[in-house]
């Protein structure tokens, strides 16, 4: 099916009657997914937003429960799972949502907060027509124009979008859009990432044997220990739990945390299993490229390139992967 680009506003308006619609836009100079108010412009000019869409499902600060202390403690869960649609999300970010699904919904416990939001989220992906210089999703086994995890997949053909529903949720969207959709339309060929990274399943296996490798000392040195890479990453899901206390009552919230912070893994007594930047950078790269593969059979990096773009010290995970690929294994 096809949707005329001129009908896009209308298409979104239809969705926004039922749900909050998030679209890529520029807010105060920052490109991110923001709630569409029916008027604001939709910025599909960028390949990727600067901030990933993960906060729609996993807000940077998310209230979990309120409490009142006293002779009796009262605890009340805070449930906030509105119906939401995210439009214009790129295949790499869709894959990232897939990673988060694995974390929050699989392996024994289901995270209720995430599950509630995920249940109510419809993902409408728009494939890329071009790639940024830091994009390397096709090296990570993705296609810039196809997001298998999306509910609806759309691709830009110039004047129209080719629209395809991948799930039941997607079919509902198509149903709602029925008056706007036209038959036909041919999915355009996927653009190719200019950045080719030597990623392969072997890299994950290789890395799992490189825990003590001298490479970590070297690659970690420029790191300044900030959270930029983790906060712009669409898959980084680590969080902290804290309370916002007002005398005897307050709210327990969880908030993004970063494994790059020095106090992240420090224990109450002061012992820190990852005391230096070497250990922290190693943990992050390993987590992305090896540990996660071991646990969930997929890599935790979608190749969006945001970290390489934003790192204050200009560290680059793609350069790291290539380094590992070239590394002779006798050192491992």
């Amino acid at each position: 099916m096809q949707l005329d680009k001129s009908d896009l506003q209308e298409a979104l308006r239809i969705l926004s009657a039922e749900a909050g619609v998030f679209v890529p836009s520029v807010v105060e100079g920052v490109s991110r997914f923001a709630l569409w108010d029916g008027e604001s412009s939709i910025d599909l000019s960028r390949v990727n937003t600067e901030l990933p869409p993960k906060d729609i499902l996993f807000p940077q600060t998310e209230k979990m429960y309120s409490y009142k202390m006293g002779k009796n403690i009262e605890i009340k869960e805070i449930i906030d799972n509105p119906k939401q649609v995210v439009f214009g999300i790129r295949p790499c970010d869709v894959k990232s949502i897939g990673c988060m699904d694995k974390v929050f919904l699989e392996k024994t416990y289901v995270d209720s907060f995430y599950a509630g939001k995920r249940e109510n989220l419809t993902v409408i992906s728009v494939g890329c027509t071009q790639t940024d210089r830091t994009c390397f999703c096709d090296s990570m086994g993705l296609s810039p124009s196809d997001a298998p995890g999306a509910d609806v997949m759309m691709n830009d053909t110039g004047d129209t979008f080719v629209v395809e529903a991948y799930t039941d949720k997607g079919k509902q969207v198509m149903e709602a859009w029925k008056p706007l959709l036209k038959k036909g339309g041919k999915k355009p060929a996927a653009p190719e990432c200019t950045l080719k990274v030597k990623m392969s399943p072997e890299i994950s296996v290789k890395l799992s044997k490189m825990f003590e490798h001298p490479i970590w000392e070297e690659v970690s040195r420029p790191c300044i220990g900030c959270a930029t890479c983790t906060y712009v990453c669409p898959t980084c899901y680590c969080f902290d739990m804290n309370s916002d206390n007002h005398s005897s009552e307050g709210t327990k919230f969880r908030c993004w945390d970063s494994c790059m912070f020095s106090d992240y893994s420090r224990m109450a007594g002061g012992h820190n299993p990852r005391p230096g930047k070497k250990e922290r950078v190693r943990n992050r790269y390993m987590h992305k490229l090896s540990y996660f593969n071991e646990r969930y059979e997929t890599s935790l990096c979608a190749g969006c390139g945001r970290c390489a773009d934003k790192c204050p010290a200009h560290m680059d995970i793609t350069a790291f992967i290539d380094r590992v690929a070239e590394e002779e294994m006798e050192n491992a």
Partner: protein, 151 residues
């Protein structure tokens, strides 16, 4: 922001034990009257007041904040209030630069004998802040919107 009907300015004053707190006690002894809005936090010296306390007070919901100590030269600890003076000259400007109305944060030297000055200052500051209305700057809207009370 609509002003609550029964809104009363909430003013916190960090006062040094040796001058302003004593001056306030003297105002009490003399049964001088001033508004109920002023709440004193007793500290040994005005130099004990960390400028971060000021931010905290605004953030948590104070409408006005004061720092009061001995007159320069009269500090019980000799030189403490010279540091206070520098710290708050800069902090006051920084706050105003970030949009706080100048009246909302004030520093004053009030000695242990200046009960009348204490009364007059507190009366005047309360009036100024009443005029300005409730402060919402630096405040935790986030909590107010979703705290347990509102559920």
């Amino acid at each position: 922001m609509s002003v609550e009907k029964n809104w009363e300015p909430k003013i916190i004053a960090f006062t040094c034990n040796w001058c302003t707190y004593t001056g306030a006690d003297l105002a009490g002894l003399n049964r001088m009257k001033y508004p109920e809005n002023v709440h004193l936090v007793r500290v040994p010296c005005s130099s004990r007041v960390n400028p971060q306390f000021i931010l905290r007070a605004f953030q948590k919901g104070c409408d006005g904040v004061m720092v009061c100590g001995c007159h320069p030269g009269d500090c019980h600890y000799a030189t403490g209030n010279y540091f206070t003076r520098r710290r708050f000259m800069l902090m006051k400007r920084l706050l105003e630069y970030n949009g706080i109305d100048p009246q909302r944060f004030q520093a004053r030297w009030i000695s242990g004998s200046e009960a009348a000055k204490f009364r007059d200052t507190m009366t005047q500051v309360t009036a100024q802040i009443r005029e300005l209305g409730p402060n919402s700057k630096f405040q935790e809207k986030w909590y107010q919107e979703g705290g347990p009370e509102n559920e």
